[in-house]
Amino acid sequence: MVDFNRFTLANGLKVLVHEDATTPMAVLNILYDVGARDEDPEKTGFAHLFEHLMFGGSINIPNYDEPLQRVGGENNAFTSNDITNYYITLPAENIETAFWLESDRMLSLAFSEKSLDTQRNVVSEEFKQRYLNQPYGDVWLKLRPLAYKKHAYRWATIGKELSHIENATMDDVKAFFKKHYNPQNAILVVGGNVKTEEVKKLAEKWFEPIPAGEKYHRNLEQEEPQIEARQETVKANVPLNAIYMAFKMPGRLNSDYYAFDLLSDILSRGQSSRLYNSLLKEQQLFSEINAYISSSLDPGLFIVEGKLIEGVAIETAEKAIWAELEKLKTELVSDTELTKVKNKVESILVFSEMGLLDKAMNLAYYELLGDAALLNNETAEFLKVQSADIQRIANETFNKNSSSTLYYLTEEHA
């Protein structure tokens, strides 16, 4: 159970407070309701590049990191296709420094040319390090445009290509800031050894004077239902053949989300899971096999991916995956198996409450979903799922005509 108090400032900024007196630390987490899905298709990777620029100094504070480190704090951020999330952890008695820093960069950045120059290079190196210079690193750069034809999920957060990052201009940066970085598009969570009254005072002092800005109204082109099987083959300098299968599934707010999460657990959570036992151990077709969901806000993907044992034909491996998926469509999952994945989820939720930062991030995310209190209903939602639900969604999801399959083959494999 993660308790919290909640209030909204006059400029529209939502603030949540989680009091936890067991720690001497505090966390300030701020979620901006903007991700790669909000980008211009010709300027992709921008939300993430922008995240880097948020550390390049703000209007009144030339250096973001240094004053924070000076008070014993640390920070980081991440960008996804849906959101951009910034967080600070520091000794609770120095919490005001976090308010000072975070509010100033919401007020306005310094928009330094030097910072833009440097971060274009840094992000280009990040692109290389994570996507281009790793075996299989570019899979998502291939799989997304195969699975999505219209929706902005067709590109990854790093962007479609290096040139989009290299061509970013200061005008782009300023326009993006104005459009997305204001109190109405943000959720602030303060957690740890703090009191709500004190947080309220600090929020009013540092954040309330920031102009409300314009509310961003998202209007994304949605994907049309997929009615044809899609398949693509790529060859690369990798040692093993691999297969990636993507199926469309509903977005995070759909009531079936919990059933999908459990479905992926049944297939691939841990050494008792179906794919691991059937395909890796019994049939020995794969040396690695996984299933997971993308958990995105708009309709997402259910992914099955594996690396093949040398000498196994990719068609054989694919057929074996399908056999496991078909089984879920025709046979009900037993009570024992369903209880097993539910117990695991329940346990994970209890363990996740041991981390202050996790709690703060979760509160912000669930508030974005509509209500932070949803976080405390998670276990109940998972427990509601029945075997019949699993069978129903398996039937709705695992169809050739709504699948996108990527063969990622070694170059020698002609």
Binding site: M25, E74, T118, Q271, S272, N343
Partner: protein
């Protein structure tokens, strides 16, 4: 009017409280250290075994035993073990480090009595079935092939091998080492290493007298002792070494440089940690400021010092654009040279002091982290005075002392320099 240019007042971290463990012995003498917290209804139990009987011709024995230990006992198959553990929402994890093999159980308190017997069965009756071993060998060899395509991983392997040679710390694992694994040898290693006389238990979470009795009833008896020889290695400093593996298609090069240093037991260790922080141990470090934030050569660069039981070493690691690899190396050496010749300004040093104290406070997030802090000192043969001294050193070390440490340990003329990619 709010003055946004004025930083708020702040305080340096004053008190850092460590939760110290309570020590009890199982009936067979196995020490159990408990760090208690009643916050959540859960517990973590770590069974920690020293790595023993090092045999350089069979370098994978301990690793393979660690990974395969839950792959079948004389009662339960691999699948049955996993199903039971998962059914109770528990987590059974194994970890192999250079010095130890850990078996860790995470469980909600309500399921402790159900999962402990399974762990007991695994720790005392594991069988390492041949078919499971065959699958392991096949899959690990495939994983190795993928890893050898990753420049950063290759740079780690080469660096460790250059420093530590044919020991558990440095042996360069190759496919044929997997082919050489034999079931009988694994069983022998298992019986030897996973024995009560080679075991320390560290418990963290809600764990009361009844929990201890339960633990004792399972692990305090019916567990055979063994004869073990703890791994012992000694290392001497090397001359300057260069390892360069060219990868013609590389977009980035992985750089890893460094050399042997001291471990936690040595009086210089805390000071060296501070020096390391200045150089490359945090986001505002000199290497990050220069090579990422000024030059944009990399997504990240860092330095570290590592404390093993029988050695310590320091390193600087990064992946940089292949076209700027030489320039990046020049800048790294330049930053080290500055630390050896120029005193750190008081302003920077104070920032680092505060940062490190905040970081230490933040690293004690929950009962598990308190247990980890205990393990750091206990297995180095130290007590909580170590942390008192560490905090004192962070607060009081002088720029002159850091300069002296830089000249003692950052001797680049004897560094090992590994580059994988293009120069």
């Amino acid at each position: 009017m709010l003055n946004r240019q004025q930083a708020p007042d702040f305080k340096q971290v004053s008190a850092i409280n460590f939760i110290q463990p309570e020590k009890r012995l199982l009936s067979n003498g196995v020490p159990v250290f408990t760090i208690y917290s009643g916050e959540q209804d859960l517990v973590r139990i770590e069974f920690i075994f020293e790595n023993v009987n090092w045999n350089r011709d069979k370098p994978l024995q301990a690793i393979a035993v660690s990974t395969l230990i839950n792959n079948g006992t004389n009662k339960l198959s691999a699948k049955e073990i996993a199903e039971k553990i998962d059914f109770y929402g528990a987590f059974f994890q194994t970890e192999y480090t250079q010095d130890q093999s850990l078996v860790t159980l995470y469980t909600l308190n309500k399921h402790l009595h159900s999962v402990l017997p399974i762990v007991k069965d695994v720790l005392t009756n594991s069988q390492f079935p041949q078919n499971e071993l065959d699958i392991y060998i096949q899959n690990q060899k495939q994983k190795l092939q993928v890893n050898l395509k990753k420049n950063d991983i290759v740079s780690r392997k080469e660096f460790a091998h250059a420093l530590f040679g044919e020991t558990a710390y440095g042996v360069d694992i190759k496919a044929e080492h997997y082919d050489g694994l034999e079931r009988e040898a694994l069983l022998t290693y298992f019986k030897t290493a996973y024995a009560p006389n080679n075991c320390t238990i560290v418990v963290s979470g809600k764990f009361d007298a009844a929990g201890f009795d339960l633990l004792d009833s399972h692990f305090g008896r019916d567990w055979e002792k063994s004869e073990v020889v703890k791994n012992a290695f000694s290392f001497s400093p090397t001359e300057k070494q260069f390892v360069y593996k060219e990868k013609p298609e590389a977009l980035q090069s992985a750089i890893r440089i460094g050399q042997l240093a001291v471990n936690r037991k040595h009086e210089d260790f805390s000071g060296l940690q501070i020096l390391n922080t200045v150089l490359g141990g945090y986001f505002g470090s000199r290497l990050m400021a220069n090579i990422r934030e000024d030059k944009g050569y990399t997504y990240g660069i860092g330095s570290g010092i590592s404390s093993l039981q029988q050695a310590g070493y320091l390193f600087i690691a990064t992946e940089v654009g292949a076209d700027v690899c030489g320039a990046a190396l020049t800048e790294i050496y330049k930053e080290i040279e500055i630390l050896r010749t120029t005193l750190i300004e008081e302003e920077e040093l104070n920032l680092v002091r505060n940062y490190m104290l905040g970081s230490m406070l933040g690293s004690l997030e929950n009962v598990f982290s308190h247990a980890d802090k205990f393990k750091n000192i206990y297995f180095a043969g130290l007590d909580y005075d170590y942390y008192t001294k560490y905090i004192n050193t962070v607060k009081t070390i002088t720029a002159q002392e850091l300069l002296a440490l830089a000249n003692k340990y950052l001797t680049t003329e004897s560094f090992t320099e590994v580059v994988i990619g293009k120069k």
